[in-house]
Symmetry: D2
Subunit: 470 residues, 4 copies
Amino acid sequence: MFAEIKGLNEECGVFAIWGHKDAASLTYYGLHSLQHRGQEGAGIVVTDGEELKVHKGLGLVNDVFKPEDFANLTGKAAIGHVRYATAGGGGFANVQPLLFRSQRGSLAIAHNGNLVNANSMKHQLESQGSIFQSTSDTEVLAHLIKRSGYSTLEEQLYSSLAMLKGAYAFAVMNENQLFIALDPNGLRPLSIGRLGDAYVVSSETCAFDLIGATFEREVEPGELITIDDNGLRSQRFTGKAPRAICSMEYIYFARPDSNIDEFNVHTSRKNLGKQLAMEAPVEADVVTGVPDSSISAAIGYAEQAGIPYELGMIKNRYVGRTFIQPSQELREQGVKMKLSAVRKVVEGKRVVMIDDSIVRGTTSRRIVNMLREAGAKEVHVRISSPPIKNPCFYGIDTSTTGELIAANHSIEEMCEMMGADSLAFLSVDGLTKGIGRSADEPNCGQCLACFTGNYPTEIYPDTLHPYAKV
Amino acid sequence: MFAEIKGLNEECGVFAIWGHKDAASLTYYGLHSLQHRGQEGAGIVVTDGEELKVHKGLGLVNDVFKPEDFANLTGKAAIGHVRYATAGGGGFANVQPLLFRSQRGSLAIAHNGNLVNANSMKHQLESQGSIFQSTSDTEVLAHLIKRSGYSTLEEQLYSSLAMLKGAYAFAVMNENQLFIALDPNGLRPLSIGRLGDAYVVSSETCAFDLIGATFEREVEPGELITIDDNGLRSQRFTGKAPRAICSMEYIYFARPDSNIDEFNVHTSRKNLGKQLAMEAPVEADVVTGVPDSSISAAIGYAEQAGIPYELGMIKNRYVGRTFIQPSQELREQGVKMKLSAVRKVVEGKRVVMIDDSIVRGTTSRRIVNMLREAGAKEVHVRISSPPIKNPCFYGIDTSTTGELIAANHSIEEMCEMMGADSLAFLSVDGLTKGIGRSADEPNCGQCLACFTGNYPTEIYPDTLHPYAKV
Amino acid sequence: MFAEIKGLNEECGVFAIWGHKDAASLTYYGLHSLQHRGQEGAGIVVTDGEELKVHKGLGLVNDVFKPEDFANLTGKAAIGHVRYATAGGGGFANVQPLLFRSQRGSLAIAHNGNLVNANSMKHQLESQGSIFQSTSDTEVLAHLIKRSGYSTLEEQLYSSLAMLKGAYAFAVMNENQLFIALDPNGLRPLSIGRLGDAYVVSSETCAFDLIGATFEREVEPGELITIDDNGLRSQRFTGKAPRAICSMEYIYFARPDSNIDEFNVHTSRKNLGKQLAMEAPVEADVVTGVPDSSISAAIGYAEQAGIPYELGMIKNRYVGRTFIQPSQELREQGVKMKLSAVRKVVEGKRVVMIDDSIVRGTTSRRIVNMLREAGAKEVHVRISSPPIKNPCFYGIDTSTTGELIAANHSIEEMCEMMGADSLAFLSVDGLTKGIGRSADEPNCGQCLACFTGNYPTEIYPDTLHPYAKV
Amino acid sequence: MFAEIKGLNEECGVFAIWGHKDAASLTYYGLHSLQHRGQEGAGIVVTDGEELKVHKGLGLVNDVFKPEDFANLTGKAAIGHVRYATAGGGGFANVQPLLFRSQRGSLAIAHNGNLVNANSMKHQLESQGSIFQSTSDTEVLAHLIKRSGYSTLEEQLYSSLAMLKGAYAFAVMNENQLFIALDPNGLRPLSIGRLGDAYVVSSETCAFDLIGATFEREVEPGELITIDDNGLRSQRFTGKAPRAICSMEYIYFARPDSNIDEFNVHTSRKNLGKQLAMEAPVEADVVTGVPDSSISAAIGYAEQAGIPYELGMIKNRYVGRTFIQPSQELREQGVKMKLSAVRKVVEGKRVVMIDDSIVRGTTSRRIVNMLREAGAKEVHVRISSPPIKNPCFYGIDTSTTGELIAANHSIEEMCEMMGADSLAFLSVDGLTKGIGRSADEPNCGQCLACFTGNYPTEIYPDTLHPYAKV
C-alpha cells in the first residue's frame, strides 16, 4: 500500500467465482478488496455458458467499472484480475484477464506470479509462427494450450502447466469450465471459499470476508482444480515439492485482515514487531510505524517494549497517482507529499521508527530526516524483516541487485546513510518464528530467497533480466 | 475522513498565501493537506498584481488540477478552497473561491463556515435587484461589499462583516490585497504562518508542515487582517466575544497532525481516549478503533486500560466516491464496503470498540454487527465524545434533530439498538478536560452546542432549515 | 459555414417553443438546424410550469446534448440557443440561455444580436451594486428586469427594452410565460411558426422545416410577444422605425433553405450571382464557387453567363475545430486544409471564381493561388456583394476597420494583392435588386452599414471597441 | 459521404510515405483527405529505422489524433489507415494499421479491400495453433507471413500474397522497408506519388493534392512494390489478369477531386449525368441532386438537358454520428435529419431528382416524399448508375441480395414504391461510356459485378456470408 515510496511492487491479484447469478458483481467486489495488489489495470471476464464477455481497462477497479458495465456482464461464472505492471510493461494490451477468441471457442486467463522461463518459451513459439498480442508472460500459456494437440481444455492445460517454471497462480476459463492452478512451490497465495453453492477463489482471503463467503482451504502447490456445473475436481499436475510461500506477503503485501495458510497477516506482523523488540531493544520515548504496512509491527514492538505507540507520521489519504510532484526548488523548500510527521508527537522525543522492509533505502532516509526536522531527539530505525539482498524473480518488482541497499552496504553504513541513531533488522530466524509457520518444513514453508539467495526453483539466464522489454 | 458512513460532514478548508512566486503551486499543496475537509470541489485564484486568474472544478484536488493548469496561474499571491457541499447544494457554480469581475476590478472569496442570517440577507438583497449566481451563502458577502458605498475594499469588507452572523473564516483577495477574517466567536480554526518572507494562512496547521512553513499564530476571533506588499496589518471589526472553537474539530474533523490553539489533535484525541477509559472502564481482551478518526482515541483507551490495542477493523483505502453499491440482495448476502473486521483478531474476544462520535447510530449498529459476525464474544462500544443532541448551524452537516439518535433515545435504548453489550459516552467535562484547553474561558473556549444546546450566537428562524434549497 | 477562413462570424441562433410535450427535443432539433449560426456553445432551458431546468455546454449541439440529458428536460415549453463567441469572449459562463434563479422565481434569456450601449449600462449597473456573472451583453437585460420596480415580468421586460439600443432578438422565459422581442429596426431575423397547437419561434425558418412546423409570420421590428397557456399576444414597445434587416444574412449567414421576409436565401443568392454576371461579365471556360456559401451565386452567375458551372474546389467535410494545423514548413510545402482545387477541372482553363464577400482578403489570395497551382490559366474573382468598408456593431464579428481590406485599398490594389486576373464586386444597387426586397422602404428594408457606413442606430463611443474585454 | 442514409459503405483508405522527416504529420493530412472512405477508426504506424511506433483509435482522424500525439511519432516513414467497419465488426482491436511485435522485429499492415477466402484460411491457421487478436481478415496475412518459412519480409510477403483471393490494396511495413501490393484484378484504387525525394502512396489522389505531392502512376494489378532507403523496386507476384476497378469508386465513393486511372471523378460523374440526360430525358423545371455525391451528375444532367440546376435539398453539415434520433412519434410529426428540401425552390415545380445509386430504396422513398411535402408538383427520379442487383464481396458493404431493391423488383415497381412520377437508371453501356475508360479492356477495365453478376474472381461458399461474426 506504500508502493510508490518503497519501490517494492506486487504483481497481481486473481479472483474467480463459479455458480452464482451475480458472478460479475461479486468479482467486482472481490477485485476491490484485492486492489492493493495492483493498481495499473483491472478486468473481468464472465461466462453465461455460451460465450465469454469481457470488460477491462487501465486504472483502479472503480475507474474501470461503472454501474452500466454490468448490464452486459451477465453469467454464472467469472474471473477477475487486478494488475501491477511488472513483467511485460504496461498498456491496455496487457490488462488481464487475457481473452483469446477462435472459431472453436474462447479462453480467458488471469495470472498472478512470474514465469522464469517465459522468454525462452516465447522465443520458441514465435519461431514456430505464433504471434503474441501482449508482452505479458501470461500469454505463453495460451499459445501452449493452442498447440498442445489435446482436445479438451483440461488436457491442454494439464500438459501445458508441465512446461512452465516459476511462480504462478492461474485462473483459466472457457465457456463451460473454470480451472485453477498453483505452481509446484506454492509461491503465491491462493484460497478457495464457498458462497452458498458457489465456489470462490481469491489471491487473498479478505475478499471472502467482503462478499460474505466462507474460507474453505488453500489451493495446494502443484494442484490443478476443475470447477464446472458438476462441482469441483482436484488433480496434481506435478509431484510434491516443498511449499515456499513468499515471505513478503506476510511482511508487506497482503492485507492485514487476510490469512495465509491460516496465519492472520496482522497478527504475524505484530509478532514480527514483538520479536524485533526482543532482538533489538532500545531506550526510547515513543514507537511509531510507517503507515500503513508497518503499523501492526509498530504496535507489537511498542507492546513488547512497554513504550507508548503513537501516530508519529500521517499518510495523506488522498494522494492519487496523478499527484503533481513539487519541483526540485519546492522540494528543497520543504514541500512533502504522502507522509507528514506529527511534530507535537515527536518533538524532543527519542523515537523508534518501525518499517517493514528496506529496498533502496531512499525512503527511509527521507523519513528519518522528516522526523528530525519535526524535532525528534533520536531516531532509531527498526526493520521488521531481514535485509533484502537478492532480487525476486517470482513476481515482485524489487530492484536489481545493484540497487538493493542491503546487498551493497553493511548495517553500519546503512545507518549512517539514513542518518539514524541506530538501525537493526529482524533476523531470518526471527522472521520464521514470528510468522509462526510450522518448523517441520524447510524454511518453515516460506520463500526466503530475497534474504538468503536460496531460490526454490531454477533461475535461467533470460530470467536475469526478467522485465526486459520484448 | 469517514464522512460517507457517519453523515457528519465538514464544510470547507481555506488556504491563502501572499508574497511567493510559487503561490499557486503552494496553494495546491496546501489544499491537498486540507482535502479531508471537503471533497466536492476545489479551486485556486491567483493574482499577479494586475488581474485575478482562476482554476476550479468539481472533484478532489488531484482531479481538478493538472500540471498544465499551473502554466496560467502565475502570480505572487493566491487563495484556495476545498468544499464539502452543505449550504446551497452542490454544482460547479458553488465551487470556491467565488470570483466576481467588474469593470472596476475583480474580487475573490473563499469561505469556511456557515452564516446564520444568510437567507434573510439574500432576500433583502434580491429585493433590491441583486442577482445571485450561486446558491452559496458566501456570495452574500460579495453583494454587501458591492453595495457598501465605501471606496476601498478594506472599508467595504470591514463594514460588511458587521452584518454577518454565524461562523466564518474568510479569505478575500483583489488584485493587490489579501484579507483574512474570522467570526467574533472564532468558531472555525484559522492560522497564520510564514514561509520565508511570504505569509501563509490555513484552516489547519498541517498545511504548514506540508509546504515547510512555520506556524506563527492563530487568527483571533473578530480579527480582520490585511496583507499586501507592505506587510500584514491587523484590526478588530468587533469587540471581544468569548472564543468558541468547534469541539468537533478536535474530536473528528481536523487531521491528527494539526494543532488548534496549539493543542495537537492526535494528542487531544488520545487524551479523550484515556479520559474515556477512566470514566467508562470495562473488562475486555482487545481495544479497537473505527478507522481512521478513532484510532488515536483507541490507542489512548488501550494504554490507559492496559488492554492490547489491535487492528480489529480495516478500512478499504481504494473506495472512492463512484464505488458501485451492492444491491439489497447482495448486501444481505454479506457484501461489505469500506470496512472489514479482522476475524483472527476479534474471534472469541471481548472487544472494546472505540468510535469518536455517533450521529444517527446506523453505522455503529453495522459495525457492532460486523464484529459479532467475525466472532467477537462481546462488543463494548465506547464513544470518545458526549452524545450529539442538537444540530449544528455553523457549517457542520449533522442531521436534523429528528435524525440524531442521542436526541431521541436514552443510552440504554441506543445500546440495545446497536446490539452492543455495553455503551458509554465521554462526559462533557471529560471532553473539555481531555482536550486540555484553558479552563479560564467559558466552556474552555469551545463550542459545545451540539452536546449542550448552548449556541454561542443567535439562531434565526430561517437558520432552522439552514440548507434549504433556494 | 466557412467562418474560420473568412473571419466573418455570426453571433447566435435562437429557438423557442411553447405548448408541446416534446418541447426540449424539438428545441434540440431546432438548434441543430441553426448550428451554422454558432458553434461555440449550445443550451436549452425548459419549463414544466413549476421550475426551469437547464442543460448547456461548450461545443456543437451534438457534443453538448446526449440522449440521457433529455430525461430531466421535461416540460411544455423551452428556449434554446447556439452561440458564436463575439461580445464578451468565450467560456462556459457565457453559454446561453442565461439562467437567473432567485427566491421569487427563475428567468432564462436567449439572445441574438449585439447591444450598442451595453458597456455604459453595465457600468451604471455595477455602480449601483450589480454583480455580473457573465461578460455577455445579454446579462444587462436581466439586471434591468430585476431593478425595474414592476411586478410582472411582462411589465419589467417592456420597460427594460426601452433602455436597450442596437440589434437584438430575445427569447425570455420564466416558469409560466415566454416572451419574444425584436429590436426596433429588425436587424436580426426572427420568425414565428405553428406545430399543431404549439407556437414555435426561430432565428431562421429552416428550423420549421426540420421539425415539420408551418411558417406563420416574421416577428416585427419593435414587437414584444407574450406566449402562455392562453395563447399569443402582441404589443409594440416602440414606435415604427424603418426595417433594416442585416444584408449579410442573405449574402452569407443564413442557410440556403431559410426564407427571410419570405425571400428564399438560395434564390436571393442565385439572383445576386445573375446580377453580378450582368454587372461584371468576363470571357471564361468555367465558373466555380467557394463552398459552401458561394455555390448558389456561382450557379446563378454560370446560368446567366452561359458558362458551365463546375466543382472547381472541394471543401473537406471532416475538418473540425480541433484540426491540427500544418507547421509553417509543411504549409510552404503545400499542405492545404479545408479546401482543395480539382486539378482536372481547372487545369488550362479560364476560371471565374465566385465568392460571396471579402473581409480581410487573405482567404481570397490563398484560393486564387491554389487555383493557379492547380493549373488555372486565368482566375477572375467575382464577389456577389459590395466591398465591406465598415465594421458591424450589431452582432457580426467583422474585423476592425484597419483590417478590412476594402476599407484601405482600391479594387485594383486588391486585385493585385490577390494575384487575380480581374476582380469585381456587386454594386449596392445590384445587391438590393438581387435580393428582391421591396424598393418602397429605405435601402429596401436592409441594413447596408458595412458597405455604406450608414448605421441605422446611434453608435456610442464605447461601441467602437464593442468586443473589448471587460 | 452519404453512407448512413444509403447503406452503401466503403471499407477503408490506405496511405503510406517513405523518406520524409515529417512522415507522421503528412500521413495524418493524407488520412484526413481519405476520411470519407472510413469513419470508424484511424491509425498511423511510423518507423524511425529502429522501431515501429503506433497511435490509433476509434473515431474520426481528428478525434484520434491530437497535436501531442505526434511528439512520439518521429521517423522517416509511415503507413496510415482509415477504417469503415465491414468485415469482422468494429472495436478497437480491428483498427488498422495492425501491429505485430515479436522478438525478431515488428510488422505493420494496412489494408483496403476484402479477402474472399479469409474464413477458410483462418480456420486452417487456428487449427495449427495460431491465435488471432482481431476479427479482421487482414490479420490472415500476418499469420501467413510468420509461417512462410522464408527469412526476409519480401520473400515472406511474396509467397503469402499467392494464397490470398479477393480485393486488396496492402501497405506493409517493418523497421526498414515499406511494401505495397495490389490484388491481381486491381479492384481497389491505389496510386504512387512523389513529394520531393519521398515516395507517397494513397488510395486516392486527392491526398497528393492536399500535401503538395505529385501524382506519378497507379499501382498495377498484381504488383508488389518494395520501397526502402535504396529507392523503389517493383515486381509482379502474379501473371496478368484483366483490370477490374470497382465502378462504385467512380459512381459514389471516391472524392470528386480524385483521379482514378487518370479519369477525374467529378468529370466522370458529370458525364454520367449527361449520359443519363440523353438516355432518360424528361420535361421538367429544375434539376436537383442528392448531396453530396450526386451533385456532379445533377449538374451534368442539367447542362445536357438545358434545365436549371438548383439547390433543391440541403444536407445538414453538422450531423455527427452521435446525433440523437427523433422518436417514432416525432418522426411522424415531421422531424427530419440530415436532409432538408428547399421549399421555395421546389414548390410548384416539376423536379428531376438525381441520385447516384439505389441500394435498398428506402432513402429514395423518403427523399421523394420530402420533395412532395415541400410542394414539388412532379418528382422524376434519375439514377446515374445501373440497378444494383448483386452483392459485393470485395469490400463494399452492400446489403444481401434479399435487401437489394433492384434485385427483387422491376423498375415500374420501384417507381411506385418510391412514389415517383417516373424512374430511370443509367444503362451499363452508358456507365462505361460515361466514365470514359478504354473500351479495349473487358468491361472497360471495370468491375461491374454488382450490376451484372459477373464477378472477376472466384467466390467461395464461406464468402457468401462474408461478414459473419467469427
